[in-house]
C-alpha cells in the first residue's frame, strides 16, 4: 500500500467541479472537503456539511458580556462606591443599558474572532493550513481521503472524466508548512 494521504482533483471551472462531486458521490466515494477561491452557492447542502454552531457560540459570548458588565457596574456603583447621581437609585438600570449593550457586542465579536482563529488554526506566526495553494487563486479543488477510499485509479478516472485539469496524489496533508 502506498503512503498517499490525499487525492486532490483540481478543476478550472466550478460547474465541472460540481459534476466531479456528483460523480464521486454516485460511486460512493466520500469527499473529505472542497476548496474554492470563491463561495459557491448551495455547496454545503450538496456535501452534507453540518450547520455551523457559530450562532450558539455567539449567543453565549454575548450573554457573558452582558453578565460581566451588569455585575461590574453593580459592584462599582451600588456596593463599592455608591454615589448619588441626579437623585437616582445607585444601580439605575436604564443608565447602564447602552454600555451593557456595547460590552455584549464586544465580547461577542472578540469571542467569534477567537473561535474562528481556533477552528482554522490561523495564528500569527503560524503557516496557514493549505492543501493546494492554487485553491486560493484560480482552482477549484476536491480533496479525497486516500486511506478511506482504496480505489485510487477509479477516483483518478472519475475526476479526469469530470474535467479535472490535474490530479495530485499527496503524501502530506498540508503542503504549506515549509
Amino acid at each position: 500500500m502506498s503512503n498517499i494521504k490525499y487525492i486532490l482533483g483540481s478543476f478550472g471551472d466550478p460547474d465541472e467541479m460540481l459534476t466531479g462531486i456528483k460523480k464521486l458521490q454516485d460511486n460512493n466515494i466520500s469527499i473529505y472537503d472542497v476548496y474554492t477561491p470563491m463561495p459557491i452557492h448551495g455547496i454545503e447542502a450538496k456535501l452534507g456539511v453540518k450547520r455551523s454552531r457559530l450562532d450558539i457560540a455567539a449567543f453565549f459570548f454575548g450573554i457573558t458580556g452582558t453578565i460581566t458588565m451588569l455585575t461590574g457596574v453593580y459592584l462599582a456603583t451600588a456596593v463599592d462606591w455608591p454615589v448619588n447621581i441626579g437623585g437616582k437609585t445607585h444601580f439605575a438600570f436604564p443608565d447602564f443599558v447602552p454600555i451593557t449593550f456595547e460590552l455584549t457586542i464586544l465580547f461577542c465579536a472578540f469571542g467569534l474572532v477567537g473561535s474562528y482563529y481556533a477552528s482554522t488554526h490561523l495564528f500569527p506566526g503560524r503557516a496557514p493550513r493549505v492543501m493546494d495553494l492554487r485553491a486560493t487563486d484560480d482552482r477549484f479543488v476536491i480533496a479525497i481521503d486516500a486511506k478511506q477510499n482504496a480505489e485510487h485509479d477509479k477516483i483518478d478516472e472519475l475526476l479526469k472524466s469530470a474535467g479535472a485539469l490535474e490530479v495530485k496524489h499527496n503524501e502530506r496533508k498540508y503542503i504549506s508548512y515549509e
Binding site: 452557492h41 450562532d55 437616582k88 436604564p94 443608565d95 447602552p98
Partner: protein
C-alpha cells in the same frame, strides 16, 4: 438552477368565510362607533381616541407598504420580486386609509374630541383667561388650517406614488420590458426622500400634538419604526395565510427567513429608538419632559411594560434562532404578537394624552377598543384582499422574478 412549475397567472379568489368575516368585522366596528357616540362626553372622547388609533394604524400600514415597495426597487432587490403583489394591494388602499384618517382628525378637531390641548377657545388670545403662552408660541405650526393642509398634502403625495408604483407593475404584466421597472426605480427614489422627511412631521401632527406642551425629536423615528415593523409583520401574516390557503406556492422558507430577519431587526430598531427617547428624558430628569413618562408610569403602568414585552422581548427571543425565522407557524405567531404589540404601542402613545389619569378619567380596555379594532381589521382585510384578488398574485414580467423564484439562503 432548478426547474419549477408554478402557475404564474394564479389569482386569489376573495369569497367565502373570509369575506363574510371581514364584513362582520366592519359591521361590528360601525355598531361600536354608533354605541360610543350615543354615550356621554367621555364616551365620545374615547371613541375618537380609538378611531384615531386605528385610523392612524391603518394609514401607516398602507404608507409603509409603499415604503416597502420603494425600498425593494431602490435596492434592486431580487428576493422580494415574487411577493410584491401583497404590499402592492396594501399600497393601493392608501387613498381609502388616508381619507378615513383625514375625516377622523377633521371631525375630532371640529367636535373638540381630539387635539383640544392646542385647539380650544382663547388658548392663543393673550387677554383670555385660558391663554397658554406655550401653545401660542406653537400656533404658527399648530393651527387647524395648516394642520389639515399638511394631512392632505402628506398623505396625498404618498398616495400618488403608491398609485404609480402599483400601476406600472400591472402595466409590466401586459407589456414586459424594463420601462416599468426603470420608472418605478426613479419614482421610488423620489418617494423615499419625501417619505423620510415628512413621516416624522406626520407623527408629530397626528400623535405628538395630543400633548402639545411636550415634545421629543425622537418621536418621529419612534413612530416610523412602529409603523414599519408592524407593516412587515402584516405582510408576513398575509403571505403565510395565503400559503396556508394554497396560494403562492413559490414562497419558500428563504423568503420567510428574509421577512423574519426584517421583523427581528426592526423590532430591535424600534426598541433602540423607544429606549433612546426614554433614556434621555430619564437621565436629564427635566420636569417638562418627564411629564410624558410620569403619566404613563402612574396610570398606564401595565401597558407601558406590556409594550416592551410584546414588541421587544417576544421577537428578540422567538426570532433569534434561524430555524424559527424559517418556520411558517412560528413566524405567523410572532407576527401576530408584533401587530398586537404595536396596537399597544399606539394605545400608550395616544390614551395618556387624552385621559391623563387612566381609568379614573374614563379610559380603559373594553367594548370600544375591541369593537373599533375589529372594525378596522375587517376593513383592512376586505379592502386589501379585494385589491389582491383583482390581479395575478405574481408580477410575471418583473425582471428579477427568476431570482426570487430560485431564492435560497
Amino acid at each position: 438552477m432548478g426547474t419549477h412549475h408554478y402557475n404564474l397567472s394564479e389569482q386569489f379568489e376573495f369569497t367565502g368565510k373570509v369575506k363574510i368575516l371581514s364584513i362582520v368585522g366592519i359591521v361590528i366596528g360601525l355598531a361600536t362607533i354608533a354605541y360610543g357616540l350615543m354615550g356621554d362626553h367621555v364616551s365620545h372622547e374615547r371613541t375618537y381616541a380609538n378611531l384615531l388609533l386605528m385610523g392612524y394604524y391603518f394609514a401607516c400600514v398602507c404608507m409603509s407598504a409603499t415604503f416597502f415597495l420603494a425600498i425593494q426597487f431602490v435596492a434592486q432587490a431580487g428576493w422580494s420580486a415574487s411577493i410584491l403583489r401583497v404590499p402592492q394591494a396594501m399600497a393601493k388602499n392608501l387613498p381609502i386609509a388616508a381619507l378615513i384618517l383625514i375625516v377622523i382628525t377633521g371631525l375630532g378637531l371640529y367636535t373638540h374630541n381630539l387635539y383640544h390641548h392646542w385647539h380650544a377657545e382663547g388658548l392663543t388670545d393673550p387677554n383670555s383667561p385660558h391663554y397658554d403662552s406655550l401653545i401660542a408660541g406653537k400656533a404658527v405650526f399648530l393651527n387647524v388650517p395648516f394642520f389639515m393642509i399638511r394631512q392632505v398634502v402628506f398623505m396625498g403625495s404618498y398616495a400618488i406614488f403608491a398609485h404609480f408604483i402599483t400601476k406600472w407593475s400591472y402595466n409590466e404584466d401586459l407589456t414586459g420590458g424594463l420601462t416599468s421597472y426603470n420608472k418605478s426605480f426613479k419614482y421610488s427614489c423620489i418617494f423615499l426622500v419625501i417619505y423620510g422627511f415628512t413621516t416624522p412631521i406626520f407623527a408629530f401632527d397626528n400623535i405628538m400634538s395630543l400633548e402639545a406642551h411636550w415634545f421629543s425629536t425622537m418621536f418621529g423615528w419612534y413612530n416610523f419604526a412602529s409603523m414599519w415593523v408592524s407593516t412587515l409583520a402584516i405582510i408576513a401574516i398575509v403571505i403565510i395565510l395565503l400559503r396556508k390557503a394554497g396560494y403562492m406556492s413559490w414562497v419558500n422558507n428563504s423568503h420567510l427567513h428574509n421577512l423574519g430577519q426584517f421583523i427581528f431587526g426592526f423590532s430591535i430598531f424600534w426598541t433602540y429608538v423607544w429606549f433612546a427617547q426614554f433614556l434621555l428624558i430619564y437621565y436629564a430628569n427635566m420636569s417638562e419632559e418627564t411629564v410624558y413618562f410620569h403619566k404613563r408610569f402612574n396610570s398606564y403602568e401595565f401597558w407601558f411594560y406590556l409594550n416592551i414585552v410584546l414588541n421587544f422581548l417576544t421577537p428578540l427571543l422567538l426570532l433569534m434562532d434561524r430555524d424559527n425565522k424559517r418556520s411558517e407557524n412560528l413566524l405567523l405567531t410572532v407576527s401576530i404578537i408584533v401587530v398586537c404589540g404595536h396596537w399597544v404601542d399606539y394605545y400608550q402613545m395616544i390614551m395618556p394624552g387624552i385621559f391623563e389619569f387612566g381609568t379614573k378619567d374614563g379610559s380603559g380596555f373594553g367594548i370600544l377598543e375591541l369593537g373599533i379594532a375589529a372594525g378596522f381589521v375587517g376593513l383592512f382585510t376586505y379592502t386589501v384582499l379585494s385589491a389582491l384578488s383583482k390581479k395575478p398574485l405574481v408580477a410575471k414580467n418583473h425582471p428579477f422574478l427568476q431570482e426570487s423564484l430560485n431564492h435560497h439562503l
